[in-house]
Amino acid sequence: MDIIVLVKQVPDTEAAIRVSDDRAAIRTEGLKWVVNPYDEYAVEEALRIREALGGSVTVVCAGPARSVAAIRSALAMGADQGVLVSDPALEIADSLGVARALAAAIRGLSFDLVLAGQRAVDDDAGLVGPAVAELLDIPHVSLATKVEVQGSEILCEAAADGGAKSIRATLPALVTAQKGLNDPRFASMMGIMKAKKKPVEEKDLVALGLSAADVAPQSRVTGLSFPPERPPGRIIQGETARDKARELARVLVEEAKIL
């Protein structure tokens, strides 16, 4: 079973986000970068499937040079090899442009299953995974909380509006990982050492048979701002918990018009 895992490097979720003076981008100096948390579930699932069925796990990442750290993290968990898709044209690409680059990289590899996080916690769009499936002309299952390989098919459980569903798909397929799929392992010291020696291939768009025009953005960020500040809140006063609760109920109903 040859498995591809798509990973992205994103700012740590505990990081405060600052905006550049021209409001066109976030300020990246001093920012702590991590593997997108949902991608860690995808890496873990790939490793578990490989451990059960044999095969290989290849990590594919699109991003600037620093993103190689995300690949090394996945290699330290146990993935076999990595591909970094890096090109100046990708730095302004939108989700579809990135999906095209990733799909081109995957086409050059052997695969039965592609795993990805259900969304990246930076742009929060959740477009890339299913777009890659479309470009590869394979079925996908999004928001999976369970993946079981059954011969030439997979049986998944996935989040759905108003509940959950079980979905059967033919392989090759793409699955996006939702929280709850597994508990990702921590890399061991041995794993971190080994990761340094594992192969990571770097490819630009030309190497993938693409040009800058193929990833030219149709959507672009033209301004970043912060959500409006909330006016200072009010601490409800009272002698006892009961007094405070009753006063809170009063203001919620009379001032905030709740109920």
Binding site: A131, K179, Q218, R234, A245, R250, A256
Partner: protein, 322 residues
């Protein structure tokens, strides 16, 4: 350029999804501003019966297909019909409420049509040949203005942001004839959430518990939620402790909610949690630590033991409700 707006309508045996009615309201607004029609597309068995409801919310044309491959929902057959019809009708904008079902279609549709997409949209305007949308990034820590060019532009508005607007459209029904291919990924079973469990992202009120709950017993919050007709959520700490299912998590690595009322109980207010609830209209925090960051984001704060305050609040609200 055609100024029509096409709405992908999601429905179940309970009727049209609220997020789809909101999407229709937005579509009607965009179409009226630019002299276009609203085309509603409820694909699957039973879609035709929804025509009166869709017309009452602004649909001029209702395009239906009861092809057996469209029910239950599977991404590929829906995508095939949508791509064909969008190609034929050439709408300026395609709108679908950003539900989990939309997550199955958005990326594929964007790739199939080579069309730009904006997900979790908070506001929209048309500006010449471009569509300008505002959407949150980094879990809502930042708002981005995004310009989308191309036709069509795909917009997935965040649920609970745009109002449901009763406004009449012509409601003419057309049946689509295109054959539909069988899906390679198909649903075998649907496991409904327990009866009475409200969907977090669509609820008008949310009561959430964090580490301060000190254990898996959330019955106190469920009672408060009952009075407020609220969904029950949880912080990442509470989910990581195994007290609540991951589907209940509110935050940057969970669900983003924007209810009219958000009640945070025993939640300190980590940056990643605040990101998931910062669009709530009224925020209430109950926490025994007066320095908890959640109080900086709360409209009303109660410093106190939640195990004392919450039951009293439930009782007081119940009394006021009569």
């Amino acid at each position: 350029m055609a100024q029509d707006v096409l709405v992908i309508v999601q429905f179940s045996e309970k009727g049209v999804a609220k997020a789809s009615l909101e999407a229709l309201g937005l579509a009607r607004e965009l179409a009226d501003a630019h002299g276009g029609e609203v085309l509603a597309v409820p694909l699957g068995q039973g879609g035709e019966e929804l025509a009166p409801v869709l017309a009452a919310h602004g649909a001029d044309r209702v395009l239906v297909s009861g092809d057996e491959n469209l029910t239950p929902f599977a991404p590929e057959p829906h995508l095939a019909v949508l791509a064909t019809e969008i190609g034929r009708l050439a709408p300026r904008v395609v709108v679908m409420g950003n539900t989990l079902q939309a997550r199955d279609l958005a990326g594929r549709l964007s790739a199939r049509l080579s069309a730009p997409a904006a997900v979790d949209v908070l506001s929209v305007r048309l500006d010449g040949d471009e569509v300008v949308a505002v959407r949150p990034l980094y879990g809502g820590k930042v708002l981005a203005e995004i310009r989308l060019s191309g036709s069509p532009v795909l917009l997935f508005p965040r649920p609970n942001v745009f109002p449901v607007r009763p406004v009449a459209g012509k409601g003419e029904v057309e049946t689509l004839a295109a054959p539909v291919t069988a899906p390679r990924a198909r649903m075998e079973a649907f496991i409904a959430a327990p009866a009475g469990k409200k969907e977090l992202s669509e609820a008008d009120a949310v009561v959430s518990g964090g580490r301060g709950m000190a254990g898996p017993d959330f019955s106190m919050l469920e009672e408060l939620a009952g009075v407020l007709d609220a969904a029950v959520g949880a912080s990442r700490s509470a989910v990581d402790e195994g007290w609540r299912p991951h589907t209940d998590q509110v935050g940057q690595t969970g669900k983003t909610v924007s209810p009219a009322l958000y009640v945070a109980c025993g939640i300190s207010g980590a940056v990643q949690h605040l990101a998931g609830m910062s669009f709530s209209k009224v925020v209430v925090a109950v926490n025994k630590d007066p320095d908890a960051p959640i109080f900086q984001r709360a409209d009303y704060g109660v410093v106190g033991d939640l195990f004392e305050v919450v039951p009293e609040l439930t009782a007081a609200l119940r009394e006021r409700k009569g």
